[in-house]
Symmetry: C3
Subunit: 261 residues, 3 copies
């Protein structure tokens, strides 16, 4: 009775670019429920978009159709894709954004080639509105994935920086900052669940992994497991970005060292 929603993830902010996606979908699939996952992705940050998508997908219903648009190469020869993976559907550019969530284990990957499911006029600068949203609306209406174009097997992978793990040491980096000014790293927090760890970054030293943001009192610099499972660096009741005047978070290296037992 309640069909799964269409879910939007973009770097459009709260702008009419996001609004136009909603309008196109409301026009082509008038009964569809449209949910905003986020439009706050840093402009053109494909890695951030891909990781936010991957960590968020489990919160959404089986069958959801995700429209994912972080698309600096719009209008060039980069392809559009629809992927089926884990009972969910992903539509977006073939630039790596869909790779972590679905790319390596897609049940089906199809190139968006059938212009019948695009808007009548396709711009060079806004495929979110002219291709990805209409395709999602038609999929929601029941058009099979296979109708969108030929199957493909060589989708573009994403180069996500991976931490270097050695005995008792993990060398990682900051991936992005979040709404609260927390630094989200590429280190899996569960890797630090055994033993006592110290986290080092930018000349700072945080002893121990906290259980909560508030553990060590207001204003304390803490390292902890964030809601997406990653090691985060935070200020209790505050913002690391503000406290340390962070301007280029991606340049931050983060090292975790385990105390010898």
């Amino acid at each position: 009775l309640n069909k799964p929603p269409i879910v939007l993830l973009t770097d459009f902010g709260d702008s009419h670019y996001a609004g136009q996606l909603r309008g196109v979908i409301a026009t082509l699939a008038p009964g569809a429920v449209v949910i905003d996952l986020a439009h706050s992705i840093t402009p053109q940050d494909i890695v951030q978009g891909a990781l936010v998508l991957k960590e968020s997908v489990a919160a959404f219903p089986h069958g959801s159709i995700f429209v994912c648009v972080v698309d600096p190469g719009v209008g060039t020869t980069r392809r559009g894709l629809v992927l089926l993976s884990g009972g969910r559907v992903f539509v977006g550019p073939d630039n790596g954004i869909l790779y972590p969530v679905a790319g390596g284990r897609a049940d089906l990957a199809v190139e968006l080639a059938n212009e019948k499911y695009f808007r009548p006029v396709v711009s060079n600068t806004f495929h979110g509105r002219d291709i990805f949203s209409p395709v999602a609306a038609h999929l929601w209406n029941g058009v099979p994935v296979e109708s969108m174009g030929p199957a493909v097997s060589d989708i573009v992978p994403l180069d996500v920086p991976v931490p270097v793990v050695t005995e008792g040491r993990i060398d990682g980096r900051v991936l992005y900052t979040d709404r609260f000014g927390n630094l989200v790293t590429n280190i899996d927090a569960d890797a630090l669940s055994d033993g006592e760890w110290t986290v080092l970054f930018k000349g700072r030293r945080i002893k121990g992994i906290s259980g909560t943001y508030a553990d060590r009192g207001l204003g304390a610099l803490v390292a902890l497991k964030g809601s997406g499972g990653r090691l985060e660096i935070a200020v209790s009741g505050g913002s690391v970005v503000e406290r340390l005047h962070v301007k280029s978070p991606k340049s931050f290296r983060v090292r975790a060292i385990k105390r010898r037992g």
Copy 2:
């Protein structure tokens, strides 16, 4: 036929934290209409969240279920609550955010203790997703408030700065700035409806209370009754925050003085 909506109020901004709330609700209560009240609360500003909630609640349908998440103490021993008040339902942390709207006159207050209505895995850092949203979804589905846990009577009050009112003088302060760079004070504007008042702050002097933002011409500094009933300080067609380079609005004291008749 149209059940009341679930309404979201958070300090998550336009991020995937808000999106994950929507996803959890769509999963557990697929037919629910979800409305964003606001996600623009200044991070961790419980007072702002509480006052925005209180002034907004009348705009929403009877029976609405509000999920309110400004939660710096997430994961600590602070409790979760569901309150019934004025025909509406409020879910959130027991940190004062629900107190002004419902705390003092709740028809029922229940601690969120029944893990059956949480997500299977509850993180220490995101109860909005793992507890408050699923509880709201189950309430929307018809689970009684009483099923969520034991009734409580000692909910945490909120310390909202109250103006000092003396004969012909009110000493208040700025509570927060809004989207337009207006300063929203803790002074009830109706207290200034009789007689002629002068408003003083930061060495400025505003004679008289304006009826509208535009009353005194473009660029004028004005004091007036805002849409929530509070005394506001504004620049017509502009922003007080920009004009006066306001950085710490909460440190602003505001005094209203009545002209002797």
Copy 3:
């Protein structure tokens, strides 16, 4: 079966001002689908609101009811309007915001005078909540446009800066910057489709009109046709606003010169 949506366009950002519009509509028209076109309009920038509305309207379903609130003159004698144009309905202040999309060719223009369709108490500072949203909800419920008040024919036009076009030369200006830090100009990009053009602004010189943002490689300054049909100035994979430290985009003059054949 699926009635057209109510669409919101404001300068309220992600604040409770937008949330209160949604609440009022949910109260008065519980079955209505409400879509956010955008709330990112620069505060009080009527021209930006009007142009974003005009370029976005085609993405929305026939019959959509648009609530458009950029309203620095709220509470003064400026009128409220409902316009019918192109099979769509527009509600908002009579300050020019509705003029480009509907004003010049409205099938019907009515002044909002019938207080029966307002909220019981109307503030001087928030007609979006107290007049425009309730009117839109009642229209959605089937109340005829004519019931809202008397027909009017003298609606306020909008003064949009028009480029000066001479033989082989177009002198325009920047209208606003978008989410990506692109400069959106008042020059119709199709006017540059013939021949070779050079675009000049702030001492910069861009030879040729690009087909896509990415055409000339990462970091290149490019001029191209944006998704709304206007000439845009962009940095491939970056932001003109950041690159050139743009503070007052509206002061930017942009000149396009055609190479003599």
